[in-house]
Amino acid sequence: MSMLENKVAGDKNAGNDMIQYVTVVIGGQLFGLPISQVHDVFVPESVTRVPMSAPEVQGVLNLRGRIVTAINMRRRLHLPPLQDEQMMAVGIEYKHESYGLVIDTVGEVLTLPSSSAEPNPSNLDRRWAEIAGGVHRLDGQLMVILDVDRLLGAMFTEPMAAA
């Protein structure tokens, strides 16, 4: 955590064009979250499920005294659930509330020039496209930028599946 924060501080000095991303893997795909939005990386434990909530809401959990709403990114992206493997979560803040995006694994922090981001390919799955803020071409793989505002914003406005 503190290391991440140091990097944020460093990043701000580095220049405007470079953006640091925390990379995460969801269903084999590499995603990047702007580091400024990531508060924590934690292991989601003892998640209390919330009956009648939207299917992608995995539940609520206690993260150092704060109640965090865990969102299962695999379900959000319409991927099959991860079998018997420890999942990770990325803690983010949205509109003064804490959310945890439950993902497969967390990778390294990458510093990428914002100019090298490309728009979403037009044939991208619509459900993915709505939460992707562009694509970075990396060596040997692509990194999809996860647009947190759109990801969570859509969940507020969309009618809840269970409701």
Partner: protein
């Protein structure tokens, strides 16, 4: 907006609230100089500060109002108009302040000259009045300081102060401002001492002046920046005199308190976690310090809670003014009594009940209290009394809004209930008065005959109830006709900490607020409480009541078994009996753990749309738990029940439709072919046997074909004249037997036996055929057996003549509508009944009295003069007809009307359009009859 201005706005708003209250009091006691001084001082302060901050509009109004009040002090008579005008000015000042706040310190544009003009006019009028008869009015004794100060200004050794511009109208000079500060202190002391001296004379005032006095000393202290700005030696002196009181209290932003509260909540949770850990280690050295930490935390929590507490009087502050205005608008003298204004409750709760309280007071004034003349007629004092009372009762606060008016008119509420279709007449009749009165909490209910500006828009009491229930409170109602009504609101002291019961359902734990839990019932094999089922609906017999039950996991949609109906284990379970409003029900859970005081944390916005939960929290073991919202559960419970009912009624509806379509439920039809390629059908129930005879067995005798069948000769009948049996192989036929005789109907081929509805769509003129129906999607002739039977034995029916006469039932059909008589008589006749029609009940009675014998009566319900219910009751009273079957026939079929019919003594209740239902009902009646005879 700078701090000074913000301070000013808060300050002034508070002052204005006090002025409001004081003015109303002043109006009633125009000679009370203390009150007038108090008001005068507050307005003066406002005026002065406005000038200082450069707010000309506010200053102008305040000045004009002050001038008018100055006249009162000088002895001008206090009129209601004048007070109203000052109140209007106060409102105007409030409005401007509101805009000022919204506009971040910019004084809004606007013209107040009209208002100021009126105020000045009134001042002039007051002058005139004083010059005239006003002299008789004794000038208020201790209203002098300001006047004296004005004349004796030389006595003050103030350095002359000037500003670099001329004074605007209504503006005060710095001298005056300075003086104002000085005087406020003097007057405060006067106010306090006056209060100390005369508590017995003004008992009802003790509440109000106290906060006013407590607030007042703050003013000079906070106005210090202004005073300090001047090169004046008095600053220190003022500080010394005002400081003693003002230092006792400080203003803290609500946010700071909220944050503190959150942090304490965290602390409580952490403490709980630590306690949980220590509990597991028996001899821990942490035990003692932790115990101390625990105590300190508890005290800290209490302390912080106390900072959030405010006297309920704050929520009542606006009410005297409202009642005064209402009293004028409605022309009813009203007195507002407030008891227990210092009862404290959480400010969050306080905010939430402000509006409902206001509304209820309005209601009491408008609907509750009668007009003065009515009151006089009822022997009550002309002045109506509305009482507000608040007190603590075991972790709750009870607020009562009581009036001594006419009480709730039960009959009018009943009429309204029926008019609005909220319940049927029969249901309403069965309700107790209290139940009827509760209907005023229903949405869209208002008994005020006309919509007034005060109330009567029908968005009243249900909103009140909703608001109160939202904060976990309840509202109850007691009303005595002629004596008045009283609303009792019960609300939790605080929303932040809730005592809950931790339960388990579907593998998860949930917290249910204790407030709504009435009791817990353990259900076990052989225990006195058992879960029973009515159809599939589980209920619990608890003392004298039947409680509807539903499993929590079902309500929450987390039941994991196959069939949700089986979630409730009849032999083992815990039932949490909950009461929400007037609704009592049982929620079945898998386990009950313990009770826990929990700190409610709001749910994430994403989950806030779930009305089953009111929040969530962290338990001592660190896990998150969802807090059940009793209102949500009650709502789900109701819809759960109604969906079950809806399902049932849907089924019934379908049944009915089927019946209506078919005439009866599906019957077995035997399909065959005879003489023609198109299929024919006959009800299977009429067919005794299906037989195939070798052709050689068919003999011919006396010009007809016969076979020997069971030792007798059985005549063969052909479907069409001129048909003949096959010439070789076997001949299939349908055998019909009755009373030892048999007939064989010769067919070409037996096609099928189908379950279908025999719905004859096209009638037939051709003998032997009843008509055509769709069977298995093909047009099929339905054979009329009655045509063929006599062909076999001419006397088939003849020899039963006697019996048939006995069997032919005479039915009396009563209906005032000729349309229905014409429509239904043939139906009844076709069904084999001997029908006599009557156009009304009196004619029916005539016939019955004449000794005409009927086996049954079919009667319409909606008839003029005497309706069907009364008719039936009358017949039932007559011993001769007590056993007579009577069928009700009505175009209105509701559960309530059916119930009413049953009570009247009808054997059955049939819808008019349901012709097959009528036939079936008659058949049932006579079947029972026959059965009884046999």
């Amino acid at each position: 907006m700078d701090d000074l201005l913000r301070e000013f706005i808060t300050e002034t708003n508070e002052s204005l609230d006090v002025v409001d209250v004081e003015l109303v009091k002043f109006e009633q006691e125009p000679n009370n100089a203390t009150i007038l001084d108090n008001i005068f001082r507050l307005v003066h302060t406002i005026k002065g500060t406005c000038g200082f901050l450069g707010l000309p509009r506010l200053e102008g109004i305040a000045h004009a109002a002050e001038t008018l009040m100055g006249k009162f002090r000088d002895g001008a008579p206090v009129t209601q108009d004048a007070v109203s005008l000052i109140l209007v000015s106060i409102d105007q000042i409030k409005d401007i302040l509101g805009e000022l706040e919204a506009a971040e310190g910019e004084e809004p544009q606007g013209d107040d000259s009209e208002l100021i003009g009126k105020l000045e006019e009134m001042s002039a009028a007051a002058d005139a009045a004083m010059a005239g008869g006003g002299a008789a009015d004794e000038p208020a004794a201790d209203a002098e300081p300001e006047a004296e100060a004005a004349t004796d200004s030389d006595d003050f050794t103030l350095p002359e102060q000037t500003i670099e511009r001329p004074l605007r109208p209504g503006e005060v000079s710095l001298d005056e401002l300075e003086r104002a500060f000085r005087e406020t202190e003097i007057e405060v002391e006067v106010a306090e001492s006056a209060e100390d001296e005369a508590p017995d004379e003004q008992p009802e005032e003790i509440e109000a002046p106290a906060p006013a006095a407590a607030k007042a000393p703050e003013k000079p202290a906070e106005a210090q920046p202004a005073a300090k700005a001047k090169p004046s030696g008095e600053g220190g002196e003022k500080k010394a005199s005002g400081g003693g009181v003002s230092n006792q209290s400080i203003r803290v932003a609500v946010d700071t308190l909220e944050h503190l509260m959150t942090m304490v909540s965290e602390l409580v949770l952490t403490r709980n976690q630590l306690l949980e850990i220590v509990r597991r280690h028996e001899d821990s050295e942490f035990k003692v310090p932790l115990q101390r930490l625990s105590n300190v935390t508890a005290e800290l929590q209490e302390g912080v809670m106390a900072t959030r507490m405010q006297p309920i009087g704050n929520a009542w502050q606006k009410l005297p003014r409202i009642v005064r205005d209402l009293s004028q608008d409605l022309e009813k003298p009203i007195e507002l009594e407030m008891i227990g204004a210092d009862t404290e409750l959480d400010r969050q709760v306080l905010e939430m009940i402000k509006d409902p309280l206001t509304h209820m007071v309005r209601n009491s004034a408008d609907h509750g209290l009668e007009r003065p003349e009515e009151r006089r007629a009822a022997g009550k004092p002309e002045k109506g009394i509305i009482t507000l009372a608040a007190y603590h009762e075991g972790g709750h606060i009870i607020i009562e809004v009581r009036d001594d008016g006419k009480g709730i008119d039960v009959e009018r509420v009943k009429a309204k209930i029926i008019e609005r279709g909220l319940a049927t007449e029969a249901e309403v009749e069965k309700m107790t008065d209290a139940q009827v009165q509760k209907f005023i909490f229903h949405a869209g209910f208002s008994t005020a005959a006309a919509v007034t500006s005060v109330s009567g828009r029908g968005v009243g009491m249900d909103v009140v109830r909703n608001n109160i229930e939202l904060i976990g409170g309840t509202v109850d109602l007691r009303s005595v006709t002629g004596k008045g009504s009283s609303f009792i609101i019960k609300i939790p002291l605080t929303l932040a900490i809730v005592s809950t019961l931790i339960v388990e359902a579907g593998g998860d734990r949930f917290a249910i607020p204790q407030l709504s839990v009435v009791e817990l019932v353990r259900v076990q094999k052989n225990s006195e409480h058992r879960i029973e089922r009515i159809k599939d609906t589980p209920v619990l017999r608890l003392r004298n009541k039947l409680l509807p039950l539903v499993h929590l996991s079902q309500l929450l949609g987390i039941y994991e078994g196959e069939n949700a109906d089986e979630a409730i284990d009849a032999d083992n379970g815990f039932i949490v009996v909950m009461q929400v409003g007037s609704q009592t029900f049982g929620v079945v859970v898998d386990g009950v753990f313990h009770t826990e005081e929990i700190v409610v944390k709001p749910m994430s916005t994403m989950l806030r749309n779930l009305d089953m939960f009111s929040g969530n929290t962290i338990l001592g073991d660190g896990s998150v738990i969802m807090i059940i919202d009793p209102n949500g559960i009650a709502g789900a419970m109701a819809s759960h029940a109604s969906s079950a009912v809806a399902e049932n009624s849907e089924d019934e509806q379908e049944d009915l439709q089927q019946k209506a379509m078919t005439g009866q439920n599906a019957i077995s039809l035997l399909l065959f072919r005879a003489g023609a390629p198109e299929p024919k059908a006959v009800p299977l129930s009429l067919v005794t046997r299906l037989e195939e005879f070798d052709i050689s067995k068919i003999e011919r005798s006396n010009g007809r074909d016969l076979v020997q069948y069971r030792g007798a000769l059985m005549p063969l009948v052909y479907v069409n004249d001129g048909d003949s049996h096959k010439t070789e192989g076997t001949q299939p036929m349908l055998v019909f037997s009755d009373a030892g005789r048999s007939m064989g109907l010769v067919v070409d081929e037996i096609v099928d036996i189908v379950e279908d509805r025999m719905n004859i769509e096209v009638g037939s003129e051709r003998p032997g055929v009843l008509g055509s129906a769709i069977v298995k999607e093909r047009a099929t002739e339905i054979i009329d057996l009655g045509f063929y039977l006599p062909q076999a034995f001419e006397d088939w029916f003849m020899r039963k003549e006697m019996d048939i006469e006995a069997l032919t039932k005479k039915v009396l059909f009563v209906d005032d509508s000729s349309f229905f008589r014409n429509m239904l008589t043939p139906v009844l006749k076709a069904a084999g009944y001997d029908v006599t029609t009557c156009v009304g009940v009196s004619q029916a009675f005539e016939l019955l009295e004449n000794g005409d014998k009927f086996h049954a009566i079919v009667s319409d319900i909606e008839m003029p003069e005497i309706n069907g219910f009364e008719f039936c009751e009358a017949i039932r009273r007559d011993p001769r007809f007590r056993q007579m079957p009577i069928l009700a026939l009505s175009s209105l079929v509701t559960p309530a009307s059916i119930e009413r019919g049953r009570q009247a003594g009808f054997d059955d209740y049939v819808a008019k359009f349901d012709r097959p239902g009528l036939i079936a009902a008659l058949k049932d009646i006579f079947a029972g009859d026959l059965g009884a005879a046999a």
